[in-house]
Symmetry: C2
Subunit: 423 residues, 2 copies
């Protein structure tokens, strides 16, 4: 399919308009209908598995031919584990409580007026993503459960799998009474389709971009619709002077090695100068044994002989690979200054046994997830107990950090009176 | 002062950069310092009252000369009542609990990890407003109490009063240890200053426009920074079949007449056909007695002989004047369809004695404030018990409806562990 610019624009505007019209019915759907759709989608996907994996294989073959490399190819593949997670995800979202209609924190004013806040859907959510085809299913599941229409726009490299997945989601909608227009997928790989989508502020309430820095920058600069970024993770671990070396080693290895190609992976380790003698060599040894390259500041290289000297650009790098930048700092202030300067507002963790330092780090670091004595891997909607995750927001507006169902809703004020006047 | 385009750009960029640098210190200010600044500002403003009112008088004289009309001129004037409210507002905000650092809803995960969410400031907030000079003080008070830097850009018609007010706020900052750069005012009346501000996404986290539709549209279309609109209020009252005529009359009069030039004033009344015989004539009589003109649909004009036939544009009009559009509808569906089509997502109220209809209206109407049996005037941060109000958001993203201190903050995740790993 190779439409003219005008046909392309009409197609996208039409999808957006229909998604917007459907959003009013979506906001009034019962929980039962939404859950029926989730469970039916899981059944249909299972039944269509062979065809979907074949579509994914075609995407993978083309990507390899185009020279796509290791972690990126891994993101594109629907592995058996990812398939299981995707199907389980639909059933998990069905089991989550419906946020819509929930009334929070009702108070009674002195004049007897009851003031509450009720959760309602946002309306229409556009998801612009790259590579991972499972986002098609995960994102649609969360948007629909939260009563929204969704417009999906995956990467061109995953188009075959995305269309095959969306076909089943839309068929399940027809079968269960969910408006089919509420689950829209843009069937075009042309990037101009994104340009058109970003101007549909009359129909679309929120844009969530998930992908590389180029995509994020483009969307942020051009969108006339509010954007919640799911940006790079340049995550830091700060090994404080009082850190237990054994715990510090386990956390560093877990944060760096257990998953490489994810945004909550560790990219830079900051080490208090008083942790250089014992903790740093021990951590470095454990990382080397697992094949991690260390790019260190001058002081790091003095202690760790195998380290490669870091250059300025290493401090801002999201490697997504077995490489770790390491810098020795004099104190907490220097660590926090480094994080503010080079970090991406994603996830930072301190390893410490000092009460005051733990409090100070939690309070002063402004990133979306800030931790004490745990792996950076916990910056994840599932591991934090949200039950699901649409992504990890590095935008402070609306929702900051791992974002589940609630982030896809808003609150309206509801007033119950018996004739109250301004007077 | 008449700077070149380049000087203007440098001035605005410099203000924004300095506000951003100051925002890190702002986020760590103690509650005591922020409250000292609020109370000192109140004292300084009281001491400088004569000069500020003289500046306001100069603004008013120029506006009258330029032919500015009734309600707009009323917004520009710092009346004695507004002055008292402004000063009291500073003291009220000082008395409010500090939202920053508050940890909400900590849970413990099965692995022992404690997961909480801590309120933090947004960073730098740009307020673009028109006419009302008291916004200078109200907005700065709320932004600073919530730990943010603020960049104020008032209307050219209020420039003298705005600069005089901001002088005192900045002097109070110097006296109390609040970074002066955190309270920035753009001293230029040139609209090009807004264009520059809206591109400073490297330094500014949120833009709040408060003003007429022209300003709102310009800001929404051009901003590269997230925007929370404080847009027009085309507020509706729906008189249900079961409405008590006396209560309906009192609520209609209060919603329309008690304040005309405000966004929560009533602009369109929808009347169930079964309320036409008794309630409608009674309400119409009470409104006529108070000088309100009624522009009615055909069925309204049959019942209310003094009504003027409404034209299509009346249904979307924010009159801010003694005019009310009135339409008779067959049922709740027609009322809700009308609100969705012509409303502005601001405030809608039903008057009813019917339980089911009250629930349905609260649930189905998606506006930012939805009420039963009360005046539309309650769409107001003070009257709802928020303690203060930066405005009334008609954007669903981040905060919807009357917005107090909490709307100027966000939540980060904080994790407290003792060595938890992904495993």
């Amino acid at each position: 399919m190779n439409p003219s610019p005008r046909e392309l624009e009409q197609l996208v505007v039409d999808l957006a308009r229909r998604a917007c019209n459907a959003s009013q019915r979506m906001s009034e759907l019962s929980t039962r209908v939404k859950n029926d759709w989730l469970l039916r989608s899981a059944e249909r996907l299972e039944a269509a598995k062979a065809g979907i994996l074949a579509a994914n294989a075609r995407d993978l073959a083309l990507a390899e031919k185009n020279g796509v490399s290791g972690p990126l190819l891994a993101r594109l593949e629907i592995s058996e584990a990812k398939w299981r997670d995707m199907i389980a995800g639909l059933r998990d979202v069905a089991a989550l409580p419906d946020p819509i209609g929930r009334v929070e924190s009702t108070i009674v004013r002195p004049n007897g007026l009851q003031v509450g806040r009720m959760r309602i859907p946002l309306g229409v959510i556009g998801i612009i993503y790259e590579s991972r085809p499972n986002v098609t299913v995960d994102a649609a599941a969360l948007c629909v459960k939260a009563g929204n229409s969704v417009i999906l726009r995956g990467g061109s490299e995953a188009i075959e799998a995305n269309l095959a997945l969306a076909d089943e989601l839309r068929a399940a909608a027809r079968e269960t009474g969910v408006p089919e227009d509420a689950i829209a997928i843009i069937p075009l790989t042309d990037r101009a389709a994104i340009d058109v989508l970003l101007t549909q502020d009359a129909f679309v309430d929120l844009i969530i971009p998930r992908g590389g820095p180029g995509l994020i920058r483009k969307v942020t600069e051009e969108s006339r619709i509010p954007v919640i970024k799911h940006d790079a993770g340049v995550c830091h671990l700060f090994i404080d002077a009082s850190a237990d070396p054994e715990m510090a080693t386990a956390i560093a290895v877990d944060s760096k090695v257990s998953q490489m190609a994810v945004c909550n992976g560790l990219e830079t380790m900051l080490v208090h100068r008083d942790a250089c003698a014992v903790a740093l060599p021990r951590i470095a040894k454990a990382l080397f044994e697992r094949g991690v390259e260390i790019r260190g500041c001058e002081r790091t290289c003095e202690v760790v002989s195998e380290a490669i000297p870091a250059v300025e650009s290493d401090w801002a790098e999201e490697y997504l690979a077995p490489v770790l930048a390491v810098r020795v700092v004099d104190d907490m202030d220097e660590a926090i200054d480094h994080i503010r300067r080079y970090g991406s507002d994603h996830t930072e963790v301190i390893v410490t046994q000092d009460y005051k330092n733990s409090q100070e780090f939690l309070r002063r670091v402004g990133s979306s997830t800030v931790g004490v004595n745990c792996s950076t891997a916990f910056a994840d909607g599932f591991r934090l107990g949200l039950g699901a995750e649409i992504g990890i927001s590095t935008s402070k507006i609306h929702h900051y950090g791992p974002m589940g169902l609630e982030g896809l809703t808003t609150l309206k004020f509801i007033l119950r009176g018996d004739g109250q006047l301004r007077e």
